[in-house]
Amino acid sequence: MPNATWGDPEPRADEAYSPALLRQLLQQMMGQFTASGVCIALFDESTGQMVIRMHIRARGTNSAPAHTGTEPERINIASRRTTIQLNPAPTITGGLRHPSQPLEKLDIVPVHNSDLFPVGALYPIDHDMIGYAWRTGEAYIMRQEDYIAMFQPGQAMPLQAEATPTWYLVAPILEPTIQNDGQNRRWTTDTLGVVVLYQIAPGAGFQQKQRSEAISFSERIALYLQNDRLRRSQDRTLDYIRRLQQISTAFPTSVKLANLVEDIYHFTGSVVDVSSMLLTLYDRDMDRIYDVFAIADGKRVEGLPAHSVVKEDRPQWWHIAQVEQHRVLLNLSDQEPGKYEELLTGVWGDQRNAKSFLFLPMKMFTRVIGSLSLTSMHADAYRPEEILVLETMVQIITVSIENAKLYDKVRRSLHEAKQREETLAAMNSALQIVSSVLNVGELLHNLVEFAAKLVNAQLSTFFQISTDGKELIAEAVYAPTSRPKDWTELSTDAAKHKDLIEMIRLPFIGSILEGLVGEPFFYLDHSTIQDLAQASAEGGGIFLRETGTQQMLMIPVRYQTELTGILAIHTLGQSRFFHPKEVGMLMAICAQAGSAIRNAQLFEEIQEANAQLQYMDKLKDEFIVTASHELRTPLSAIQGYSSLLQRQHARTTPQQILRFATKISEATQQLSALVVNMTEASQLGTLDKNLQTGPVKLSTAAEVARDILSANIEQQITLRIPPDLWILCDPLRLRQVISNLFDNAAKYSPPGSHIELEANATRLSRLELPEDQLDPEQSDMDIVLVRVRDEGDGIDEEDQQKIFEKFVRASRSLTTPVRGTGLGLYICRRYIEAMGGKLWLEQSAPGAGSIFSFYLPHIDAPAETGESDEST
């Protein structure tokens, strides 16, 4: 079958009769009529003329065999006789010069480049011998002389150089009469062709009666031709069906439209003549029309579909394809030009000069999904049976396209379902991560990171509502690609940069946020963000500006009805609205995070309380150990002396009794002081919480301490404090510390010596602290340095550390046989540290006395002096 070449159609496939059959028939006829040669002309629809299709001659009758051009074929006629039984009856041969010439000996050569009846020669009706037989529909015998006489003088005559026939027998091939149902039929279809038999040998001729024989023989030829034609048409139909099956089974396994249109194109070309073709599809979902494939005058139009159009741009196409849904078949030469202009122009060029046009809508039930348009440069190129084939093809591809679409849809929805499943799984695991973390910081970091990754955001922040509810404080930032890099660092090492992150603050009370947090979520546009940055504390403004936050999706996070904070998804550089599905997922996570944060907070509180308890427990153990050691001495004294008084009461002098009683009394005092100190110590665990710090005037506190103590000691206390020196601390604790230092100094100093308290304001950086009191993390600040100097024995170097470490040994390490309570310095140090200062032994040498020093934060005097003076 043809063909891949467009615009250059070969002769119509169904008109090319089998040459083998033709030759066989002609050969037989030649034998029957003992003719020298025979040719057959058949009607050609495309030209409307008779065309010589075959011309053969008995061997030897041609003086110039070279003219055959090809190797002469030898055909064994005898072997063919069994299959061809056109006329089994013996031929009437009376009067012939070569009667009953045996068929076996008949040697045939095809005649090709003959001047006489050349193959391919055209004969219009009534022209020449063939045209005459065509018109009359009757057979006739003619001599050469009569034939020549037919030509008028001056008219070109066929040259007969190679061989000149003497007689001709011309017979039309009439269509079998069974087809003639008496209706009006065009006469041209009645005569399928014309057979011309001729004699070359002089003397040989035809008889009149052979005319009817020739008619009946040609009728048989007609039958055979029709048979052959039917068989071919059947073959072709089978071939179509096979090819259509191929097309239909190709889908939806190969759903690519490109492959589909290639198949359509090849198939269509094999069925009909196509010079141009256009495949147009209509997408119902998008309501757009696409020209997906086009052949313009044999050449493929590249780059399709270039663009889509709406139906309003193709009103004619829409009307015919979608509304009327019928095919259009036109012989364009008959139509008024421009009637189908829209269909005939477009991406496939201007087709208005084509001769035939076929438009086939592609229907799926009542919906039309597209159309196939064809044009040919031949008139009547599309005949009903071929249109039927094309319509079948169009139906198949329609179903295929629909299938492919459905297949695609199913695949897409499967893909979506899978994606959804994956997202859910990811969400689930994230929720688990969020929920299983009991560290608030880690949890929030997980939250912002996951939220950002989920919606492909470059930056996300969690703002927690401050304890006073006035501000939103950033607690976690996720900024993997942020510029400047500083922000990225914040998110990669969150724990380290906690302080920096917490500097990112947004106003809440009184800001636009306060009014919006009632919403499940909301967006902040660029101008709102700018306003917020303007109103926020420095860190928040810098953060929003430097990150280039253009828009923010804000999702309030709640625990029950209480607002915990807000998750912010930043959009950098440009505005972006998130898909409802994405927002939904984020909200689900935030809902989970709300309770998770609460849990983590509770857990941390419990942990803190637990640690506190453990610390208290440890402290209690220390108390017990301390008590057992410290209580031993006074208890031993009390028990020892009281038992001595009991046992020796008869022998003791009044002086002895007094001395023993004094010992008991002293031990009792020591015991009670010990109990007081231990009570103090037992409260150290909750010291930080119980402090009531405020501005305290140092001189006032020192004077009170001095006045309380000076009655009970034999040393003189001197205060050297600049006026109006204020300290930020708890006034009660400060006084206790000063009293304790005075008390210690008095205990270890000889009677009548001096104890001096000296204070001055300075900077922390100017102090020379002992190594163990240095705190590299402590930033410089204004402080008040207080020094208490005595003139006592001093403290041995090896004991100088111990006096602060274990309160048990504080007193025991002192060489001087004065019993203190033991807990004093330890407690003093704890008090001072809790108030933001340090306490240390500045100097101590045996015999040179000791200096105990401490510092506390210095503050300016309150505006209204006296107000903050402590009352006790």
């Binding site: 001495t633 031993s636 020892g640 038992s643 001595l644 046992r647 020796q648 010992k663 040994r809």
Partner: protein
């Protein structure tokens, strides 16, 4: 008799208690002082506080054992319920007195060694 204790209250009290019974008492404030005194005199009985700064009662005991001239002294340990002298079994002591104690407790322990 020698009382070794870093606590003056305890030292004074021991002296007062034993003085009534007619015993001759000396005191030492710490281990080295005690060893020095023991080397010079023939004190028969030593009351030794276990918990002392510097040289502990245990160390004093070990040194007494090490010096042949001092080995034959009787040692009575003064200790509180929290102290644990028995952790080192090598320690040879004749008796122990738990603080706090009465004068009767003291005399009861001393009794066997003074006759």
């Amino acid at each position: 008799m020698l009382v070794v204790d870093d606590d003056p209250i305890i030292r004074d009290m021991m002296v007062d208690m034993l003085d009534f019974e007619g015993y001759s008492i000396r005191t030492a404030r710490n281990g080295p002082e005690a060893l020095e005194m023991l080397r010079g005199d023939e004190d028969y009985l030593v009351f030794l506080d276990l918990m002392m700064p510097g040289m502990s009662g245990k160390e004093v005991c070990t040194l007494l054992e090490a010096e042949p001239t001092l080995r034959r002294r009787h040692v009575i340990i003064l200790m509180s319920a929290m102290d644990r002298p028995d952790e080192d079994t090598a320690l040879r002591v004749d008796a122990t007195i738990l603080k706090p104690f009465t004068v009767n407790d003291l005399l009861e322990v001393v009794g066997p060694y003074v006759e």
